[in-house]
């Protein structure tokens, strides 16, 4: 895929700069903006303006980032924060919690971006980080539940059944679907959220969840079956 760079003169300088910096043997886990040599190189190059950077595609931005211009990470964050926050929101349904988690996802991505090899698209790579992070969080929550002798899933299921039994006009369908999602085990929940809410293809989901295509199909199918069962009264009405 060609990298659309708006200015030819900047492209050539950036290419030279990129080759020079990539020769460094060590890339720190947390790139530092005040690193002495990168600062020197920055000052020597004309920097494209914000509008130009905002229009650049992911690959070009990452290349620029890997070349040492760490400030461009801002445009990647701005571009994907909404999708990542929505993904996490679909999984957790907790507005206060997801902002912190989204920050952690982007910090993790920032630390790992110097090692990004362009083997996958940036957004599936970012989704993978988000999914891994949410899995860790769900496991933590599960451990906490175990130690506090509470079964949250059972509680949600009971509440869902109570809510479904009331008159159709008094139900908040969206909330019920969200509760239904919460009753699903983590793997199934993530798969169905990626497919039906985020609109990823089966192949992309396999890449994000790091599993076989067949596994993804099976997980989505089982998740939907569970959801249909949990939301049976709702399905019939619709």
């Amino acid at each position: 895929m060609a990298i659309p760079i708006p200015r030819a003169d900047w492209q050539s300088e950036n290419e030279r700069f990129r080759i020079g910096v990539r020769a460094r043997s060590f890339v720190p886990s947390f790139p530092r903006t005040n690193d002495a040599d990168s600062m020197t190189n920055h000052q020597a190059l004309p920097k494209p303006n914000a509008e130009v950077l905002r229009k650049m595609d992911d690959e070009a931005l990452i290349t620029t980032f890997q070349s040492g211009d760490l400030d461009v990470y801002r445009y990647l964050v701005e571009r994907y924060q909404e999708r990542i926050r929505n993904l996490l929101f679909s999984i957790f349904r907790d507005r206060d919690f997801i902002d912190d988690l989204a920050q952690e996802v982007f910090i993790k991505a920032y630390q790992a971006l110097p090692h990004f090899r362009f083997e996958a698209s940036f957004y599936t790579w970012l989704y993978r980080i988000a999914v891994n992070k949410s899995r860790d969080e769900l496991r933590k929550k599960k451990t906490r539940r175990f130690f506090s002798f509470q079964t949250l899933d059972e509680g949600i299921e009971k509440e869902l059944n109570v809510r479904l039994s009331v008159q159709p006009e008094n139900r908040d369908t969206q909330e019920l679907v969200a509760m239904g999602l919460k009753t699903l085990p983590e793997k199934f929940r993530t798969a169905v959220v990626l497919k039906d809410i985020e609109g990823l293809s089966y192949e992309e989901i396999a890449e994000v969840m790091q599993c076989e295509l067949g596994t993804v199909k099976s997980r989505i199918s089982r998740a939907r079956a569970m959801l249909r069962k949990a939301l049976k009264p709702l399905m019939e009405e619709v």
Partner: protein, 428 residues
């Protein structure tokens, strides 16, 4: 089998709804749907479900996200940066160096393992010999070797303990204020306190089985604590854990805390009737768990620091003592140790200490005073116990008539060791 087939059908229908089946597979599904109403119903439900999921609410873009994120990132960067005592760019070099050092040391250790083993064996043998020799010679011995439940209760309530089997000498802690305490060694001091046996305490206070167990544990811990807090050595040396004088107040607090309000009243009456040095002033407290009280008793002197008093000087110093080994040694050589301890105690009581005029002002924190029949050491110690506040029971020193030598300042806690004053109720 049926379940498996159903799962396969579900998967097929799910993919059909997603439109990812091949043309041939899709035709097969459609022909199935034409005849199978339940499959058709499933497809309807799947489509409905997809629609409902797609309608799930989305979050609006957060325009402040980058600002918050950049702040969080800076904080993390600083945190990560601060953790390292050197610039991050040196991490690989330092890692390589550390690995190399570990490998070199490991190689050297493996190559010289026989010599090393011999060296360590020789050294440990030498250390052991010196240690055992010193212990058996009695260079440092606990003043109290066996503080049982009765003695621990006596100490807790009245701050007194018999020093020897015949109760000819006694040890006493008394507190007048929170600014400090005084250690006194003498042979002509009188006590006006009575004594309370454990049975009497039980009869008066009537603790429940659970409370009795808690108090038993507390007394046992107190006994151990006393055993490891006062040591005597040759050359008339006395080593005392500086926080020992607080122990009996802490014990009164603990006992009061684990009692019910009515029992606490009986306890207070018991203390008052026997002229105990403390009174419980706040009585509205909930009974807690045993662990809360037991945790408040320190097992050993903190950091093994002792006030060491010799005839010439006094210092606050660290002594590393393995009390378990010491106790074991004493039990094994009971007779020898007993004689040696008695001799040491006699020397200490014999006032072979430097005499300093009582009213002389000393600029230093710790002071030594001398008298006709005793010597005393004043140590300014930190004041109120934190755990008293946690337990919400306040135990204050009871106002008492002057029982110490006139002329002594009243603003200090006093600990005295004197002769011929042990209470008659205590059976050693």
């Amino acid at each position: 089998m049926k379940k498996m087939n159903e799962q396969k059908l579900d998967a097929l229908l799910s993919q059909y709804v997603d439109g990812v089946l091949s043309e041939q597979e899709a035709q097969q599904v459609e022909s199935l749907l034409a005849v199978d109403t339940s499959a058709k119903q499933k497809v309807v439900e799947l489509k409905n479900l997809k629609r409902l999921l797609a309608l799930q609410p989305k979050l609006n873009p957060d325009i402040g996200f980058w600002t918050r994120f950049s702040v969080a990132m800076e904080e993390q960067k600083e945190e990560e940066h601060n953790l390292l005592p050197f610039p991050r760019k040196f991490i690989p070099a330092i890692t390589v160096m550390a690995t190399a050092i570990v490998v070199i040391i490991g190689t050297l250790v493996i190559q010289n393992r026989i010599q090393l083993k011999q060296f360590l064996s020789t050294k440990s043998q030498a250390v052991r010999e010196v240690y055992e020799k010193n212990i058996l010679q009695g260079s440092l011995l606990p003043l109290f070797s066996k503080v049982d439940k009765e003695h621990a209760l006596q100490f807790s309530l009245f701050g007194t303990l018999p020093l020897d089997d015949k109760s000819e000498t006694a040890f006493r802690v008394d507190e007048q204020s929170e600014k400090g305490y005084r250690i006194e060694v003498g042979n002509n001091l009188k006590s006006n306190t009575k004594s309370v046996t454990f049975d009497r305490f039980v009869a008066e206070v009537k603790p429940s089985v659970k409370q009795k167990k808690i108090i038993d544990s507390l007394l046992e811990l107190t006994g151990r604590r006393i055993e490891s807090s006062v040591l005597i050595g040759e050359n008339n040396t006395l080593a005392i854990a500086p926080d020992l004088p607080k122990l009996n107040r802490l014990m009164v607090t603990n006992i009061a805390s684990c009692l019910e309000p009515l029992q606490r009243v009986s306890f207070e009456r018991l203390l008052e009737a026997n002229n105990a040095p403390y009174k419980v002033t706040v009585k509205s407290v909930q009974t807690g768990k045993a662990g809360n009280y037991v945790q408040n008793i320190p097992k050993f002197p903190q950091g093994d620091r002792f006030v060491i008093i010799t005839p010439d000087t006094m210092m606050y110093s660290q002594i590393h003592i393995d009390f378990d080994s010491l106790k074991r040694q004493m039990e094994e050589n009971f007779a020898v140790v007993g004689v040696r301890r008695a001799a040491m105690l006699k020397k200490i009581i014999a006032r072979e200490f430097q005499r300093v005029p009582k009213n002389m002002h000393f600029p230093m924190t710790n002071q030594i005073f001398g008298g006709e029949e005793f010597f005393s050491v004043e140590i300014n110690a930190p004041g109120e116990e934190d755990n008293q506040q946690q337990m919400r029971v306040v135990v204050q020193p009871r106002f008492r008539k002057q029982i110490f030598t006139p002329g002594m300042p009243n603003h200090s806690t006093q600990m005295r060791i004197w002769k011929d004053t042990a209470s008659s109720d205590i059976t050693p």
